[in-house]
């Protein structure tokens, strides 16, 4: 029978790899009887919602503006790139 410590590691790993059959059953059985670990699992699932939220709108996380000098530099790089005949998806040399 898995303990809470082992389950905490496996629930984290289940977000990064496919658990084996026996790991999955061990975790499932433990979660069935352990309220604390179910709470932990919900906390881990919470992180998944963060991805959607930030992709929709990262402003709550940071309201920083792209600094004007960086904006100008990027604009220049884009124009230089397009002068090289890169616009339109033609063959062009990579930047690095």
């Amino acid at each position: 029978m898995l303990n809470c410590k082992e389950v905490s590691l496996l629930v984290s790993q289940s977000r990064d790899r496919r658990l084996s059959w026996s790991e999955r059953w061990g975790v499932r059985l433990h979660l069935w009887i352990c309220e604390q670990c179910r709470r932990y699992q919900r906390q881990m699932a919470f992180f998944g919602w963060l991805a959607r939220k930030l992709e929709a709108d990262p402003s709550p996380m940071t309201d920083a503006e792209l600094p004007p000098d960086a904006r100008a530099r990027i604009q220049q790089a884009i124009e230089a790139h397009r002068h090289d005949g890169c616009a339109g998806g033609g063959h062009c040399h990579s930047q690095e």
Partner: protein, 194 residues
């Protein structure tokens, strides 16, 4: 090229510059790196225009490219500033102390509630930011790469030249660290004041 959406490269920086920068900054946690990510993304997008099918909205398509560039930049950053030697022998590390001698949780976990209402709360974002800032930079970056950018585990291992086991251990530590920090400073804040 027969989809509903069209690309207007002349307007990318004006339209999406702020969004792309904020998304990159959230994940990379460094203004300079975030600026580089926006530039790399837009230049790569200019080259990749031919492959745009019009299925995705312009911004979604650019965000997809930005995500690849964020992974590249974390890799470059990790070559320049190698990871502090972390003891990965015992996967639990400092979080061992969060469990008692019978390997049960030492303290009761707190229910965080509905993510949507947390995301509307300014305090949540301030605490999240502070928790990520308090974490070793590499752990915070890896957490964001996996949980937010959604980078493939295998790809992260290859790019960062680490074994899957090491990556899983570092991600476990980052999640446990963030979990504990959010609980202490945000979810548990109101209750401990009583």
């Amino acid at each position: 090229m027969s989809g509903a959406h069209q690309l207007e490269p002349d307007l990318w920086l004006e339209r999406y510059g702020t969004y792309l920068f904020r998304y990159a900054l959230s994940n990379l946690r460094d203004e300079r790196l975030a600026e580089d990510a926006v530039q790399d993304c837009l230049l790569a997008a200019l080259q990749a225009q031919g492959g745009y099918t019009g299925q995705a909205h312009e911004r979604t398509w650019l965000t997809g490219i930005l995500k690849h560039k964020i992974v590249d930049i974390v890799r470059r950053d990790s070559r320049e500033k190698p990871l502090d030697t972390v003891d990965l022998e015992n996967p639990y590390g400092e979080f061992e102390a969060g469990f008692d001698e019978t390997n049960h949780w030492a303290a009761e976990l707190i229910e965080w509630g509905d993510p949507a209402s947390a995301f509307e709360n300014k305090v949540f974002w301030q605490v999240l930011e502070a928790c990520l800032a308090a974490m070793p930079r590499r752990l915070a970056q890896l957490f964001m790469l996996r949980e937010v950018v959604g980078a493939d585990t295998e790809k992260v291992c290859q790019e960062m030249e680490i074994t899957p086991t090491n990556l899983w251990t570092m991600l476990y530590r980052s999640r446990m660290s963030l979990r504990r920090c959010l609980e202490r400073n945000w979810a548990g804040g109101e209750e401990t004041q009583c």
